[in-house]
Point group: none
Chain length 163, copies 4
């Protein structure tokens, strides 16, 4: 069977140098727009302002690339990279960064050796129809409060989409 | 008119802390799969082997993240990062890397100061329906040959998709 | 009132261990707020949208730290770091990045070896009363267009502050 | 034949400037080819697909340099660097990365401070005749499952070479 397949490949190459094994399909995925990201950020900001928490709010797309960012007055400068890192980590590992923080706290210290990981609560993936379309990362308050702000932003998504 | 809007916002916040400015939509975009990437790489490899060019072939997705990679026997080790860098640069700047090389050659030396840019011919975006869904980066032969290999891979896409 | 305070300080130092060579004053500097940065960005965005230029707009404070950021739909991913780099460079060197690009183009290639410099037109300092309070960096269109967008944002400042 | 060559070399050194203290031999080492690496990866992929584990599979040569790479659909983006890091670490330290993870878990936290080490289970050296010829790194499932996939790939080597 295998040698027959090889023979056929040999014959095929007489006519064409490359013949695909079989037809394949591309995938289709939903994607964030700036307009949607701004409204997610506004909902997150509203939660932060209501509680007087001075934070950085970063929103990345499904590739982990920055889409929207705002630093509320009084937020620590150090929160700039942390908020972005949390958002990127949530996308890269397809889960809230709290899960990674819990993993480390639970004893899996080796995670600390992986570069480009911010395993700190406060980064939450944005899901749409089961697909991760980006993430919100927040830093500046306690990590629980940071996550609460990120979640408030994400929870506004159905309203934003009018669904 | 503006103060009326402000008043309404004031009233609205009595009932809800966040009310979106208006309903917004997500975008939808096609996405590479590993199966498609492998066939693009096979077509590129075929072109390289036919010409006895020992190269590295890297394929990244629309976020610039590595999806598929193969180093043909005899390809220079230095081509690993160059092939990946070309593919990422083609996605990041939405054009073949030859355009960036021409820009530098044409006198715009400042491009050399931008980090994360590999402005060397041999990286080509993969387009589908006008959308960039990834890129192929090739390194190891001359830059013209590298691009020829990448293009051979991308030109197989319609056949791969059965269209 | 001020001299009374100084007098009291003078009296106090009779009893204190450290007495400075002479009384000194701290400086006062105007500083961007997020609210002002958002309005500068909105004016810049308006200029970009009017011309159908898909760009990244980044605003940094007087320390070069990111304050506000938005990536318009369709803007190249590569523009994320470039826009931020332009804004930071404009603050770091206290001039529009065009001046640095002209320096390189004029033959001073050594600037390309200085780390953390993006000597590409499109970064413009935000001045208030002769003081640099931050900068706007734009990337995604031609560099002239990028600068035009950044300038449109900055030119809105008097109107923003006059409200 | 070999001793004749040595004799000629010996004669030649009478006239040459440099004469070594004693005749020395180069070593010979077995080396991975892309064809073999692809089949190792195919065996690993088969194990992953059978278990519906979406992972990244990276194969490096004896210098730790990337030879072959594939990211299965649905694998986390964060696994790209982790899979590569595991493969490189297995080659660099001549052992499965599980041994390094056990070292850290056992209290040797200082390993976390060594740059370029990914001490996380899932990287396994490829041995041939007692020599390390490369490594497989897998990431995306649990670390035990990652290692199971890598091992399945490596276990196919005798069959691959027996063809």
């Amino acid at each position: 069977m295998k040698s027959l397949a090889r023979l056929l490949v040999g014959v095929a190459t007489v006519f064409s140098f490359y013949s695909p094994a079989h037809a394949a399909d591309l995938a289709t995925k939903p994607a964030l727009t700036l307009a949607v990201a701004k409204q997610i950020a506004a909902a997150a900001e509203s939660e932060a302002v209501k509680n007087k928490w001075n934070v950085v709010i970063a929103i990345v797309d499904d590739g982990g690339h920055l889409l929207y960012f705002q630093r509320l007055d009084g937020a620590p400068m150090g929160s700039i990279d942390v908020a972005l890192g949390k958002a990127q980590t949530a996308v890269k590992f397809q889960r809230p960064t709290k899960a990674l923080e819990d993993t480390v706290t639970g004893g899996r210290m080796v995670l600390l050796a992986v570069p480009g990981v911010t395993p700190v609560q406060g980064g939450v993936p944005i899901l749409h129809g089961g697909t991760i379309i980006g993430a919100v990362g927040v830093s500046g308050a306690t990590s629980q409060q940071d996550e609460q702000i990120a979640t408030a932003g994400i929870n506004a998504l159905p309203t934003i989409l009018g669904k």
